[in-house]
Amino acid sequence: MSQPILAVRDLNVTFPSEAGRVDAVRGVTFDLYPGSTLGIVGESGSGKSVTSLAIMGLLAQSAKISGSVSFDGKEILGLTDKEMSSIRGSGISMIFQDPLSSLTPVYTVGDQIVEALRLHTNLSKAQCWERAVDLLDKVGIPNPKVRAKSFPHEFSGGMRQRVVIAIAIANNPKVIIADEPTTALDVTIQAQVMELLAVARQETGAATILITHDMGLIAGMADDVLVMYAGKPIEHAPVMELFANPRMPYTIGLLGAMPKITGGDKAPLIPIKGNPPMLIDLPPGCPFAVRCPVPIDLCSQREPSLTPVDSEFDAEQVVPGEGVVDYHFAACHRSVEIDHGLINGAPVYPVPEHEYHGQFADMARNDRPVTLSVEHLTKTFPLIKGAVLKRRVGSVYAVNDISFDLHAAETLAIVGESGSGKTTSLLEVMSFDPKTEGAIKLGGVDVIHGGPAARRAHRRDIQMVFQDPAGALDPRLTVFDIIAEPLRAFGHDKSDIANRVAQLMEVTGLDPAQADRFPTAFSGGQRQRICIARALAPTPKIVALDEPVSALDVSIRAGVLNLLLDLQIKLELSYLFVSHDLSVVRHISDRVAVMYVGRFVEIGSTQEIFANPRHPYTEALLSAIPVPDPVIERSRSRIVLDGDLPSPTDDKPGCRFANRCPLFKTLSADQRSVCQQQTPPLTGTEGSDHLAACHYR
């Protein structure tokens, strides 16, 4: 067994703040062995990024750091910035979340790699340039000689992250820290980047720390997993062991709170109650105790330390290239009693009971009334050239001829990567803009061509919930004023408003006594509940949901999704749901429309789409989603698409997916020319509502 390349012992980081001392990291301890991958997983504010910045010596001056970090046998905590600079980049390198802001826009990517090389080597400029081109080739940038002279803005997000990885591996570092490396990227691009990271690891033999909130990525990439909560590591085990038999209630809850891509029906998720604690003046005892379903008296008195639990670990499941294997640490007073999610034979998290009833629950889809009908919706943005005399030189087809029906008490999910036009479609439906091409019918009335009277009459029938609850709530209004706003706009009288606001807060799981507070006083999940309450205020028939849970932490997500499902049944709402997270889509929706560059490429019932995807793009999209189960994740084959989304500038005939299509590559020349020359229509077998736009499926 080799020596650990990076050994962290009892790392503590505190920051001063307005409200008091923030204990951001408390007692992180781990060993990282050459060639292995440690996954650090936790929700926002759990201290995972602060840990990595502390190791890199990149924290602000005001942070107080104690403990020990030894790299290659040398203590590096407390080194001066200058001394650290020689280690950063060559010994330990880092990949940040946002590839746009981690590259300098004014230098070419080649220059930026050369800069990284010249800092740590004695190579000449020409040699460095050669090596830079070599590196770009290695990370899969096509035509690297030419592309090295390009500026970062000329690359797409995924390509930029490749360049960042090229810089990170330029000096053959011994440790690579990847801080949420794919959070800003789409799933198909994420799959490419994760594959590249694995290649980079083999190439350099470096140990990797993968910091993420996504259990699916951890399941696929990590050898060991450290789970953090409230700044403290609460469970540390090899990946197989951790997923198979978590011993700390928080980890169990985190794994249970996620919708399963393999599941499917609308069974309620198991949320973790409450919110992650503020890290200011933490009370004694376990910080998770208030949210824990199985606390004992000891939990609120003494904080459990990270101690070994007896492990029935099967040594044959060990992934090679790892150091110590037979261990499992958990910070819980009751971890000995917990076994495979059960405590003394009963589940740690009892399954919440939901009763689903309502007049539409048992009715077939076609018997329910159509609440929203969109026909041939097209949205183009003009492409303008010229500084003084502006002229239109073309159009960007953001949404290109989409049609769908939404029935009562039904959820239609529109999925696709960023830039596919899914949010634009939603906003176009919401805006009732008379200039829109196509028809939008609410309860059979065309609100686009029906004139202002029809628009006003149907305004309250469709409401929207936004992705970012912080941005969608005016910070200067109280919760009461926010929820009352639509009621006032639709002319409700004062006493009615007061009653309804209280009822709406109650229905969405908020405390009406807090109505006089400002949105900033609420957590992310509660803010999203405020947004939902506001959307429900004018009693709409349809609610448009734009990624309503993607800005929320995993443990909070489950509660909001349960609420949405609950409200749909109770109030017979139709949801128009936009998301890129397919596991959430699978959980909440009845029907799915897959969008690619402005067009629907496949539409059908959720079961059909997930079980028998017909379009090659849908297949690739489904296979790119990481599954939070290491056994499945490591055994399944994955279709990794190359390239990026094409630009939607012109509306040429032909299939837009052809350049990335795995099926296209297997076709004969004759068949290929059909793909390139004819736009495939959405078709399906007779009588089926599963339609796909592919010539050969």
Binding site: P16, S17, E18, G20, S62, L427, M430, S431, R456, R459, R460, I462, Q463, M464, F466, D468, G471, A472, L473, D474, P475, R476, L477, T478, F480, D481, A484, E485, P486, R488, A489, F490, A498, N499, R500, V501, A502, Q503, L504, E506, V507, P512, A513, A515, D516, R517, F518, A521, C531, R534, L536, P538, T539, K570, L571
Partner: protein
Amino acid sequence: MSDVLSMMPAAATPKIAGPGRRSHSRMRLYARRFRRNKPAVVGVAIFVLLVLVAVIGPRIARYSISEIDFLALAQPPGGTHWFGTNQTGLDLYAMTVHGLGRSMIIAVAVSLLTLLIASFLGALAAYMGGWVEKIILGVINFILVMPLFLLEALVAQKTGGNWLWLIVVLTAFGWMVMARVIWQLSTSIREREYIAAARYMGVRGVVVVFRHMIPNIGSLLVVQFTLGIVSTVMSETALSFLGFGIKIPDVSLGSMLIDGQSVLTTTPWAFFFPAGTMTLLTISVALMADGLRDALDPNSAAGGRA
């Protein structure tokens, strides 16, 4: 949905705090952050002191600003003339406190008027968009390229040194930059999701402006107002210094500076008292503006320090 809501048990309609009750925790946070900024607190102290001097000072003065003491020409500071006298025997203390008051009134009035015009036109341009926005911005840009100081001097010259006219002149040529700033801020607020949400709820445009847009740039307006005071004091002083602003028998700090600088070698006190007072005034306001900006800006590093 109303059926479902009314189906809920009566006990589920809890007591609710009305919209009239507001939490003041935000104001308290701002106050605390402002207080922690020592220079800003010093700025406030100096400014309050100057206001007191400008209000009470003339009442305890032994001489009026036009009363010539022929027995004490060019006297250094001392017993009867606290700040000394100038070449013509005028009491410098009386002139300084009067000039301070005059400069302050002009500064506050101009800054306030400028802010009103600028926020009205800036917010209107941002809210209306389209050709209204184009016209307002066009006018602003057109005025901005003109030699403003020269125009101010010419117009002020015509009005014969009346301080009320000076307010009008400084306002008329001073609102454009601030209007641009407010327009820019408002356009960024216009893109916020809560504005879109309000539109999808059918809230009327005017209501959106007053309920969402103006309050959300409010803190920045306060800062702009404070900075406006500094710049007005500067322009007023400059105009008076060049002889286009306040004229005898009225006195401002600027007009005293022009008198004082010509005799700097013989009676330096005639220059240093008005100059020192003016420096105190601008520095104190600048410090306050700095403190306000840091206290109101959630992203400011200085405000976040514990």
